[in-house]
């Protein structure tokens, strides 16, 4: 029993110190963003490896998710004779939930894990330390550009995911199953609100982008500089990102759509 309590206490202490280190790291990263803006080339390099290289997985997943929503929505709605509402259903699920959440989960798996591994290995091979000795702040030079790129890419990727999903749903709904195309779009436009749905969806994806990039970069920076340490940190990035994304999604949904 005492052993259990001791264990619990130790875990609590280590998680709190980690949270503290993480917060300090985040503050340093954010303050480094100013110097990134002075050197946009660094940002573009990272937008390329974070955003552009995630483009394909996001668009293809978006298309398939939209097509599945089209099929499933049609089967359910046609029982009530409400096939015209397919557009609303597809768009609302994508814009409010699936777009931001699935994009963030894919992002954590595709770009987040890569970021952790990259930073972790740079630490293990003394590249970060070497930079410090060359009087170059690795936070400003390495971390902040990646953070900014992740943070900017996420809403763009999520918007792409939703847009392509809606088109995919329309392809299945009116192309294959015979839902009236005009009804698909007009019902959607009548029921999807710009402020409540689109803007809230974008806010969600910005929050997820912030949190996922933070977790990925911090886990890499905080990794034990051995191959095992880096591999564990990569796993933690994916797991912790998934938990944070889903937990935050619940909180944000309650706040946004709660009334």
């Amino acid at each position: 029993m005492i052993e259990f309590l001791q264990h619990l206490g130790e875990n609590t202490r280590t998680s709190f110190t980690k949270l503290g280190r993480g917060t300090f790291f985040l503050l340093q990263t954010i303050s480094g963003i100013i110097s990134v803006l002075a050197r946009p080339r660094l940002l573009i390099n990272q937008m390329h490896s974070i955003g552009v290289l995630s483009f394909l997985i996001i668009t293809i997943s978006g298309l398939f998710v939209g097509m599945v929503l089209g099929l499933q929505g049609y089967y359910t709605l046609s029982d009530f004779g409400a096939e015209e509402a397919l557009g609303v259903m597809v768009a609302a699920s994508l814009v409010r939930e699936l777009g931001p959440v699935v994009t963030a989960l894919l992002f954590a798996g595709r770009a987040g894990s890569a970021l952790t591994a990259e930073i972790g290995l740079m630490k293990a091979t003394e590249q970060l330390s070497g930079m410090e000795m060359m009087a170059v702040d690795p936070i400003k030079r390495i971390i902040s550009p990646r953070f900014l790129a992740g943070f900017l890419s996420m809403p763009l990727l999520a918007a792409l995911f939703s847009a392509i999903g809606i088109i995919g749903g329309q392809m299945i709904g009116s192309g294959l199953l015979g839902v009236d195309e005009g009804a698909y779009w007009s019902q959607m436009q009548a029921n999807i609100d710009f402020q409540d749905d689109i803007i809230n969806g974008v806010i969600k994806s910005i929050v997820f982008g912030f949190v996922t990039s933070w977790i990925a970069l911090f886990e890499g920076y905080d990794a034990i500089p051995t191959s095992e340490g880096v591999s564990r940190a990569t796993t933690r990035t994916v797991v912790n990102s998934a938990f944070s994304i889903l937990g935050l999604d619940f909180i944000l949904t309650t706040l946004m759509f709660g009334d």
Partner: protein, 275 residues
Amino acid sequence: MDNSVSHQNSLVSVRNLSFSRGNRKIFDNISLEIERGKITAIMGPSGTGKTTLLKLIGGQLFPEQGSITVDGKNVHQLRRSDLYNLRKRMGMLFQSGALLTDMNVFDNVAFPLREHTHLTESMIRTLVLMKLQAVGLRGARDLMPNELSGGMARRIALARAIALDPMMIMYDEPFTGQDPISKGSLVHLIKSLNNTLGLTSIMVSHDVQETAAIADYIYVISEGKIVGQGTPKEIEQSPSEWVQQFMTGAADGPVHFHYPAKDYVDDLLSTGKRY
């Protein structure tokens, strides 16, 4: 501990330094002086924290007690920007080379120039090629770090370390894991750079022969204390058994072959812990 080296002419002075990692004391109240324009070697067995000493001098780690001054400035009391300015004048050669793996050799050497100066690309090109020529690898400028052998990577890292024309260079185990030819070329390089550029060099190593060949002054560290110091000749004739064991590489002596353990027979006969 008395210091035979005159303090006026020293670039780096370490005074009464203590540092520990966890419960292990890595340095226990040591003092040493690094003379300007000379090659000073710090020797000792692996795991005695020689790399830690370089990181302390570079201001990456903080001592528990004592002070380190470099060029008259107390490293650990400098403001961040002043520390960074001081670091621009210190080069460090890491054991692994620590080249940035996402850029080629040329960009690696150009990295400190691009970060810290506003030179034009053509001036940077000239400087980089000069530095690469100095280490004999001008022809390798387009290779990526993963295409380099260990010795080449270290020479590139050396070119990068001298890119900003520093006042001193710290070498972390420059000879470890090198074949005899690269060892020879590194020895030659370190010596000639030190002479031609008027550098001060601090070298951390446990390679006795190579170090003794080029060092002007040697400190031998063991278990957090300085156990011997002097010119290579003085060290060779040191009366200390410990220094003798280290320099000749005998298996047993003051440093035992066995890691501390309880009595062998008792250990075999006891039941032990089941895993």
